[in-house]
Amino acid sequence: MSCRKIRTMMSAYVDEELTGVEMMEVRSHAYSCRNCGHELEEMARLKRLLSEMPPPEPSEFMAEKIMASVRASDHVVHPRLQVRWTVLAGGVAAIAAGYAIATVYRTTADPMQTVDRIEPTIDLRQDRAYAVGGDPFAGAPMVVPVSR
C-alpha cells in the first residue's frame, strides 16, 4: 500500500477505528517505512497531548446560576393570558413551514453544513403574543405579532 494511502488511515489508526486487517496494514507499513513510522508516532503523541490537557474547573457559583436560569425558563407563559390558539398557530405555522422548506433546501444544497436548529417558538409579553423564529434563508430574526 502507498505511503499516501497509509497516511489517510493514521488518525483512525490511533483512534482504534480501523478494521483488524487495516490496523495490521498500517502497522506493518509503519514498521518498514521510516517516514510513515515517524508520522504515526507524531499522530499518537498529538492525541495524547490533547487528552492530557487539564480540564478547566467551573466557578463555584456556575451550577447554581445555570439551574436558576433553567428553572426561570419554565415561566415563559403568562398564566392569565388567554390566547386564541388557532390564530397563534397561523403565525407559527408560517415560520415552521419556512423552516421545513429551508431544512430540505439546505440539506440537499450542502450536506456538510449543519442545519440551523433554531426552533420556532412563541413569546408572550404582557398582553401581546408574538410568533418568534428566524428568516430561514438569511437567518435574520423574524417576529410576527399575532392579534387576539
Partner: protein, 196 residues
C-alpha cells in the same frame, strides 16, 4: 402545533425536574471543560453551557432515556455553538464590508492570537495548543475535541455532530493535521519539546 410547544413548557412534571437536576449534576463539570476548549474562553463557555441546558430542559421530553444524557447535551451544545459562530461571522462579514469593502479571509480566525477579540478575552485559556484548536474551522475543532478530550468513538461523534462516520473520520484527520501545522509554524521549539 403551537399548543404542543406551550404545553411542553409547562407539563414537565416534578419528577422530571428532579431527574433533570440529577443529570445536570452528573454532566455539568465535564460539559464545562468541553465548552471551554470549544470556545477557548471560560466565561463564554459558561454562557454556552447555560444556553445548552435551557434548551435541553425545554425539549426534555424528546430526550431518549436509553441513551447517555451527555451525548444528547453535547449535540445541543455543539448546535448552539455553531449557531453562535455563524451569527458572529455574519456580523463580522457585515462590518468588514461596511468598513473596508473587503471580505475577511476565512470563516474562523486564521490566526486567533492576532485578532482583537482574542486579546480582549477574559479567562482565556492561553496555551499554544488551545490557540491551535481555535485556529481550526469549527467542525474540525469539535470533532478533534470529542475524540481526544472526551475520548468518544466515531459512532458517538457522528450522532452528536449529526453526520456520517466517514465525515467524522476526515474531520478528525484534517483537524489534527492542521493543528500540527499550526504548532510547528507558531512554536517549533515548543512543538519539538512536546513531541520528544
Amino acid at each position: 402545533m403551537i399548543g404542543a410547544i406551550v404545553r411542553q413548557k409547562t407539563a414537565i412534571s416534578e419528577r422530571d425536574i428532579a431527574l433533570f437536576e440529577k443529570l445536570f449534576k452528573e454532566s455539568h463539570k465535564q460539559a464545562f471543560g468541553l465548552a471551554c476548549r470549544m470556545t477557548g474562553n471560560c466565561s463564554e463557555a459558561e454562557d454556552l453551557l447555560q444556553e445548552a441546558y435551557v434548551r435541553a430542559y425545554r425539549f426534555f421530553d424528546r430526550y431518549d432515556r436509553s441513551l447517555p444524557f451527555a451525548s444528547w447535551l453535547y449535540r445541543i451544545m455543539t448546535n448552539a455553538y455553531i449557531d453562535s459562530v455563524r451569527k458572529k461571522n455574519r456580523l463580522r462579514m457585515l462590518s468588514f464590508s461596511q468598513s473596508t469593502h473587503e471580505a475577511p479571509a476565512g470563516f474562523d480566525f486564521a490566526d486567533p492570537e492576532a485578532s482583537p477579540e482574542y486579546a480582549l478575552m477574559r479567562n482565556a485559556l492561553d496555551d499554544t495548543v488551545q490557540a491551535g484548536l481555535l485556529s481550526l474551522p469549527v467542525e474540525f475543532r469539535l470533532a478533534v475535541l470529542l475524540a481526544d478530550v472526551e475520548g468518544l468513538a466515531y459512532e458517538e461523534i457522528s450522532e452528536i455532530m449529526q453526520t456520517s462516520i466517514g465525515t467524522v473520520r476526515s474531520r478528525i484527520h484534517r483537524g489534527r493535521q492542521r493543528l500540527r501545522e499550526y504548532l510547528v509554524k507558531k512554536n517549533p521549539n515548543k512543538y519539538a519539546e512536546m513531541m520528544s
